[in-house]
């Protein structure tokens, strides 16, 4: 998907005495990172946006533990151990999606992307840049989640390396699903619609799982959905990595699905973007 430009161009440069830097290699990667840095700087300067991303998972964690802990697992402590892996996956799947989609819509509307597009910058890097910037939000959100989790009494039962692997796995899934938000942003191009749609879009994926309560307690149709839901596999894998249990199968399934999401939503988003902006 890299579009490398022919070095020097094909047409003879008329002698106007002007210097245009020679095209360098790998424009997609370089420009994506440059634009990711821009997005990150913007995020860090809007603490409200960052707080949103960090606070939402913590709110879910605390809410669920104290509301349902007693009913579902008999004690809040046991429930916390059960719930935490699901919230970890929720964090990477939900964090920053709305913010990313909104900033894309604003950049498109305000003409910021028009200026980028009038420069020798690959189209894809404008989208990739904003998704990559999310990675830093994940790190922050996961760090806060672990801090709050252990304050409440959550304990990793395996070790540091598996816990890190769990974070990476969840981040991979979150990254691939970000492209769904990008796709929605490119297609809708309207702040109000985008914030609603992008906020609700991942809900069936995140909550149609055994995250908050055992699947057996759900109605049949929901059980069926949770059974095939890729996020269920991710939660199982993270459970295995944090608390012990089978990992290989669910982790492989998670990676496979992430690849599918990336290929389908990523391609669709890039194609839609090129279509919309010409």
């Amino acid at each position: 998907m890299t579009t490398t430009t022919a070095p020097g161009g094909t047409t003879a440069r008329p002698a106007t005495g002007r210097r245009t830097p020679a095209p360098r290699r790998c424009p997609l990667a370089r420009h994506s990172l440059t634009l990711a840095r821009r997005n990150l700087t913007k995020t860090l300067r809007n603490p409200g946006e960052l707080a949103d991303a960090v606070i939402l998972p913590v709110v879910f964690l605390v809410l669920f533990v104290y509301l349902f802990g007693g009913a579902v697992a008999g004690s809040t402590q046991a429930y916390l151990q059960y719930l935490f892996p699901g919230i970890l996956v929720l964090t990477t799947v939900l964090t920053g999606q709305v913010a990313t989609a909104l900033s894309l819509v604003q950049d498109m509307k305000k003409g910021v992307f028009d200026r980028f597009r009038s420069m020798p910058v690959p189209r894809t890097s404008m989208l990739l840049g904003s998704v990559l910037a999310d990675a830093v939000r994940y790190v922050l959100a996961l760090a806060v989640l672990f801090a709050v989790g252990s304050a409440l009494g959550f304990r990793v039962e395996t070790g540091v390396a598996p816990a890190l692997a769990a974070c990476v796995l969840a981040a991979v899934l979150g990254f691939s699903l970000s492209w769904l938000s990008v796709l929605a942003a490119v297609l809708l191009r309207n702040e109000v619609m985008v914030s609603t749609v992008v906020f609700l879009l991942p809900f069936p994926l995140v909550f149609g799982t055994g995250m908050a309560a055992p699947v057996e307690t759900m109605p049949g149709w929901l059980q069926a959905w949770a059974g095939v839901n890729p996020v269920s596999r991710a939660i199982e894998a993270v459970q295995g990595l944090l608390l012990g249990g089978p990992v290989a199968g669910p982790a492989a399934a998670t990676l496979w699905w992430s690849g599918v999401f990336l290929a389908v939503f990523g391609t669709a988003a890039v194609v839609a973007y090129r279509r919309v902006v010409g």
Binding site: T3, T5, G9, T10, T11, A12, R13, P14, T16, G17, R18, R19, T20, P21, A22, P23, R24, P27, H31, T34, L35, R38, T41, K42, R45, N46, K110, G111, V112, D114, R115, F116, R117, S118, M119, P120, V121, V277, G278
Partner: protein, 317 residues
């Protein structure tokens, strides 16, 4: 001389709207082309086609020797674009904005910083360079926006209504900047709704309306077509309006309409007649509060251009 950019028969439709209906544009290297037209004329659309943001449905455009449809990436290395609305990033400082564009143009971080510093200095933003652009005034934003399109030292610069929203002082400043760019050899395409602006900056003016070119001329030629300029005299004492009218009639050698509201107005063919009016008023001892040589407004230009047998689509409907 070769053309810095040349467009022939550009057509662009949006659904049922025809934004461009066979537009030709051309500018020599180092010259300034003014594209004059009212709202919805197709100015922005024309710029977007030349700047590779839109593909024309028909027609052909070559910028700095490169076909925009065939090799848009090469075109993007040769142009700078300042859109109709300022697109600076408000969360970044002025300097950060410019460094970002430098990086995207493949400058090293060091070169990008140096370039940013030079441009900030040139546009009078050196002191504000470290501040977030959200704290900038409208005029500062416009200047930063213009600076951003110069980071890559483009051969051709596209400016879409660059002075809209600026006060007269700021506008004059920006005009000087644009002039100095053209003097340095940059070819500039500038759109505007004001004949005054096109007159002040452009070597040639293309007037478009409803997606069609309705005139192409030098500023002087266009003013002539539009019925020349107008002398406006407002005597301090309204009772002197009659005397003022006589002076003006003598100086311009033509009949002058009766003063209205204490103001004498008449059109002049030659700018030298204005000097004669000034001298005549002084000689007659008529003190004035307003004395001006006014260019025809866009409305008047259109009226005269479309009166000459050409019917506008509006009249067709």
């Amino acid at each position: 001389m070769s053309a810095a950019f040349e467009a022939e028969g550009l057509v662009k439709r949006f659904g049922r709207t025809t934004a461009l209906d066979g537009v030709d544009l051309r500018a020599e290297r180092g010259s300034v082309l003014g594209v004059l037209g009212p709202n919805g004329a197709g100015k922005t659309t024309a710029i977007r086609v030349l700047a590779t943001l839109l593909r024309a449905d028909a027609g052909r455009a070559v910028v700095d020797g490169v076909d925009v449809a065939r090799d848009p990436v090469s075109v993007r290395r040769r142009i700078g674009l300042t859109g109709q609305y300022a697109t600076v990033d408000e969360d970044l400082s002025g300097a950060e904005n410019l460094v970002l564009f430098g990086r995207l143009l493949d400058l090293s971080t060091l070169d990008a910083r140096a370039r940013a510093a030079r441009l900030l200095d040139r546009f009078g933003l050196a002191d504000a360079g470290g501040r977030r652009a959200s704290t900038y005034s409208g005029g500062m934003r416009r200047r930063l926006d213009l600076a951003a399109s110069l980071v890559g030292t483009p051969a051709v610069l596209f400016l879409d209504e660059p002075t809209t929203g600026l006060d007269p002082g700021r506008r004059e400043e920006l005009w000087q900047t644009i002039r100095s760019l053209a003097d340095d050899g940059t070819t500039v395409l500038l759109t505007t709704q004001y004949l005054e602006e096109a007159d002040a900056l452009a070597d040639e003016i293309t007037v478009i309306d409803e997606g069609r070119v309705i005139a192409h001329d030098t500023p002087a030629g266009l003013k002539q077509q539009a019925g020349g300029q107008t002398v406006v005299v407002r005597p301090r004492d309204p009772a002197h309006a009659g005397a003022a009218a006589e002076v003006v009639a003598r100086a311009t050698g033509g009949p002058v309409a009766a003063p209205r509201g204490g103001v004498v107005t008449t059109s002049v063919e030659d700018e030298r007649e204005f000097a004669a009016v000034v001298q005549g008023l002084e000689g007659a001892g008529v003190a004035v509060t307003e004395l001006a040589l006014r260019l025809p407004s866009l409305d008047e230009v259109f009226l005269s251009l479309t009166d000459g047998g050409r019917t506008t689509p509006k009249e067709d409907a």
